[in-house]
Symmetry: C2
Subunit: 308 residues, 2 copies
């Protein structure tokens, strides 16, 4: 099989910061076309939207969506109906019902669907997952705090319904925790902090429990200035485990472990290549389930207005 | 197989208005015990909570939970872990993650789990489901309006997180629509109206679409006084279909159809008996998925305070 000929849709911050370089670095896949309303890229076919791209006659095997989640369903559906393998940036959509529908459609069409969670590809995540499978957990505590002005400058969509607010980064933490924990868990309380002038939360405090009663807490906050905190602290009977730097580093029983190289998005594309070779489907929507639960069970608190 | 020996948990409004009579009327099942913090029932074993009931030595095959959704997970888990077949009033829980966990647990234990949607057992619902399978849909419009003071007097839990507010009745409409429509659908916009002094919405306007683009709208409002409106209007190429009275009656192409007898809860218990006989599982959580989506994608509007 030759290189997978890929079209990407959306040329915003995440595409430029992560996807373009990762596609370049990954084996088995090459960028053939892009669709963007406002931007162009040298050396590939450029279109204004996915409809133009699919109708153009340019041969494509797969599509990667790097657009905001609002409006992504129509793009995803167009790609799948055209028989293209499909990779989705996180979050995979604005509703659970739409992502369930996409999975069903991908199965009907016999093409790959990959709902990615880039933080799961963090350098230290697999090591922690393997470790926890052998340990007895007592508690898990997520601290996920960053400066929204630094990480999401001018991203108006993120404050709109479907943009998820602080859950846009916070879902990364949930994607790691759902991956590394041996047991599933469910929300028992949720406090959401909405700026008076915004439709999405700027902070959230969540409490979860496994069926066996192990507590999992998460504090998410976009009002932190200075360096971000992307930490998951796991207390086990055998000793503490701290997964820091968004899954990039780990301290086990007080000892810093050797740092692996951080190639989250390259790993995503390598995994996508594997999936496409087998028309495989990799869709774990559990992080989005927890976010939907956090909104449904959430108690809302109004906080100070936020201006970019 | 003798009668299923049933324990019910919760002796509030819904248990007294619906469950007790339905259990009496249904074949194959009999009420053996009840658990209630405040109430007792003549002629059956009475306990203060499910823990006491399960530990009592009274022989039970199955449990039916009629408690509010908050706190139901622990009760459901206790029942399943004791090897009891389990029936859940709607909504089945306060989070999707917990109901998914219950389903997994029921499968592990080899017992029945029935997540009921009583409105699906409305007298005219199956007729409409069969009709729509043969017709071409153009649009679906739900109007679900009632007087909260009449239907939910003093039910404080319904205004708390997890109580769902107007979605407590509204999910009945969604349970019918998800059942009668040949295609699934997903939310595209959601407006939620929260009284200033309440943690749950008093009204909601929702727009959904099928993958094929058929619009489904829902207006839910608890501020209606006088008679309730529980109508689903379906426009088809072959003519209009109006399912009224919460699924109890139907008008097809302008003609009122003969009224069937309304025995929603008796049908639920008859279905539960069937399931228990085969250790079957009947859990369609799609109505709760749509409600979670409505909160996640919801734009919130503050409205006048509500006092009981």
């Amino acid at each position: 099989m030759g290189n997978i000929r890929l079209g990407i849709v959306g040329l915003g911050k995440i595409a430029r910061d992560q996807h373009l370089g990762a596609i370049e670095a990954a084996d088995g896949i090459e960028l053939t076309a892009v669709a963007s309303r406002n931007a162009q890229l040298e050396g590939v076919h450029c279109f204004r939207d996915i409809g133009e791209m699919l109708a153009s006659g340019v041969e494509l095997d797969a599509i990667s969506l790097c657009t905001p989640p609002q409006g992504r369903f129509a793009q995803a559906k167009a790609a799948l109906e055209a028989g293209k393998h499909l990779m989705l940036e996180k979050p995979p959509g604005t509703t659970l019902a739409e992502v369930f529908a996409l999975e069903k459609l991908a199965r009907e069409k016999g093409v790959s669907l990959y709902a990615t969670w880039h933080s799961r590809a963090g350098a230290a995540v697999e090591q922690v997952r393997e470790l926890l499978a052998k340990r007895t957990l007592r508690s898990v505590s997520v601290i996920w705090k960053e400066d929204v002005r630094y990480w999401h400058p001018g991203q108006a969509w993120i404050w709109e319904p479907g943009g998820l607010g602080v859950f846009d980064p916070g879902i990364n933490a949930l994607s790691i925790v759902t991956h590394i924990m041996p047991d599933s868990f469910h929300l028992t309380s949720s406090d959401l902090f909405f700026p008076e002038n915004r439709a999405a939360p700027i902070a959230a405090n969540l409490k979860f429990e496994t069926a066996g009663g192990i507590p999992v807490t998460a504090e998410m906050d976009w009002r932190q200035t200075g360096p971000q905190t992307w930490d998951i602290r796991i207390d086990t009977e055998e000793g503490p485990v701290a997964l820091t730097h968004g899954g990039g580093r780990v301290i086990i029983d007080g000892e810093k472990q050797p740092e692996g190289e951080n190639h989250e998005y390259r790993r995503l594309y390598e995994r996508f290549v594997e999936l496409v070779q087998n028309s495989g489907i990799d869709t774990d929507f559990s992080p989005l389930v927890h976010v939907a639960d956090a909104f449904m069970l959430g108690r809302r608190h109004a906080v100070e207005a936020f201006e970019d």
